[in-house]
């Protein structure tokens, strides 16, 4: 499959994520959209990694492997982020009985 397909899919996922973050007010959904963006990036990294390995694998056995490594890092960071973020949301719900992010602007006052 040409690399273009992966790029288009990743861009589409990313845009969906951005649009979700911008438009939704539910904290859980915003969270999921952030995950979506991260995974769009992961997809791109893996696709390019594979492409490089195809092109240079014969002479350099490790070509493209750093892309795969980055993906693992991002997954670890994303998992950590989810655990912290969900805890924040739970605390928020306990205090405000809502998970609407617009309520958070009360911090201002």
């Amino acid at each position: 499959m040409p690399i273009n397909y992966y790029i288009f899919l990743a861009v589409a996922l990313f845009c969906v994520g951005v649009a979700g973050v911008l438009t939704r007010r539910n904290a859980i959904i915003i969270f999921m959209c952030i995950e979506l963006m991260l995974n769009a990036v992961n997809l791109l990294l893996v696709a390019f990694s594979k492409m490089h390995h195809h092109a240079l694998g014969a002479s350099v056995p490790t070509a493209g492997i750093d892309g795969q490594l980055f993906v693992f890092f991002i997954m670890v960071v994303a998992a950590a982020e989810v655990s912290v973020g969900l805890a924040v949301i739970v605390m928020m719900y306990r205090n405000t009985h809502s998970i609407d992010v617009n309520f958070l602007n009360r911090l201002k006052h």
Binding site: V18, V21, L22, R25, V101, N102, L104, N105, L107, K108
Partner: protein, 628 residues
Amino acid sequence: MTQLVWLVPVLPLVGFLINGLFRKSLPKSLVGIIGSGTVLISFILSVVIFGDVRHEGFQPTVVDLWDFISVDKLHISLAFQVDQLSALFLLIITGVGFLIHLYSTSYMHEEEGPHYARFFSYLNLFVFSMLVLVLGANFLILFIGWEGVGLCSYLLIGYWFKNLDYGYAARKAFIMNRIGDVGFLIAIFMMIAKFGSVDFAEVFGKAGSVSTGVITAITLLLFVGATGKSAQIPLYTWLPDAMAGPTPVSALIHAATMVTAGIYMIARSHVLYDLAPVTMNVVAVIGAATAFLAATIALKQNDIKKVLAYSTVSQLGYMFLGLGVGAYDGAVFHVMTHAFFKALLFLGAGSVIHAMGGEQDMRKMGGLKKWMPATHITFLIACLAISGIPPFSGFFSKDEILAAAYGKNPIYYVVGVFTAFLTAFYMFRLYATTFLGGFRGTHEQEHHLHESPAAITIPLWVLAILAAVAGFLGIPAVFAPNAHWLGAYLSPVLGENAHGIELEKGTEGMLMVVSVVLAVIGVVAAWARFAKKPELGEPTGFGKFLANKWYVDELYNAVVVRPLDLLAQFLTFFDKHIIDGIVNGVGRLVQYGSRQLRLLQSGLVGGYVLLMVIGILVLFLVELFTKH
């Protein structure tokens, strides 16, 4: 002993520090003892040093204390020079200075304790600065003393600073001195540039190796400094106003010592002046013109101190005339005799003012000889001395200058001898109006009249004796050959031909007779006219012109002060509205901008994210459309 010369200026400095720092706690009697005592010890030291110096074959000694400035090849050290000229000035300054300190202990007695101590501390600081001025072995040390005496002059003129006019007089003196000092400073810079040194010995040694133009420029600039300090045209107008200070200050600073600093400086650097005939002519012309102008103004003044002030300006003019015609020792001789008789005149005037309860207007005096015999006799001696009546001291020094002036150019002589006639006239106008006739003041003043106490009369008598006999230090060759002790004494410093152009004995005798006859005519005319019937009315016609001092102050106000004032006003406006406007405008713009930008911080997370995304998109678009 010569090596300890630094003690001479340091002692008054110590007196200044003690009196100045502890002025609130010291009792008045102790202040007087410290103030006068330090100067007295300096005087004794000066006499000892003079004893060394006057021996024949004494070599000028430079006492090097420490390196003052050391930059690259330029080394200026704090060094004192002991030679015949500086030793003579040491004697004059500390001797007359001590007498005036003694006089002040009584004259200033009514001042409150702290102010009394302030007065003495300033006076001591002045003596210190003046001693540094004459002892300095290079132009920079001389300049430090030069500035120091200017500062003390300012402080003492404005001693009664609560009177606004006195404060203005002090400021005027300071500013006019500063104008001259700029010239002096530039001259020093030129010396550093051309000679690489400011040491007297080095500068005079190398003087022959540079062009006449440079020497002329340096000497003219030095002379600009001298016109400021020694009150010559065009910078003389501060001296009459300086009479705002207490009378002992006028006697010490504005008659005997500080104003002669210019003459000292030119006599000291005569090697340079000998090489610049143009400057010499300028000096002589300015001196003669100042002598004449100030004498005419003195004719119509009614304030006893103002007459003396203009007379000082006029006598300083004589000294510069002497310098300009090459009679350096004549000028220094006149500095010395003038220090005696003019200090005496001022102190006598102070004694009169003291007795009159602060009154300075001669029209309200008269007949004082009945009440104040000692002041009267000593004042008369001083008047005879300044008028040039033999055998009093003024006759010898003045005629030496006049003879040299005749040798150079008879016009100088005519101006000089006419001024001598005016001098005799206005001095005896002063004398007759004050001491002869009947008393014209109020009844209360008449009741108060008294002879001054001993602390005032003793200095008067000492100075009177000096004013009477000091002339015999310089007996002209007409009377006895080789009897000019002062000329012989100063010749190692001022050179062998510091006498100006020698005249034939017959001619010199003739000139002497002419000037004495004119002086006697002046004395008799003034005596006859003012003894019985002093002029009390307002002057008219030309007299009014003279009474208003040739309108020079008004001219300066119109030509210099007003335009500068207007310029300052314009600059104030420019600063307040344009410069400040720009600065404040920038500030206000930033404030306004921040107030607008603040609205972006809404606290809505969605808004921030949207902006971030827009930002990223913009960056992408920029990246897309820019070719690398």
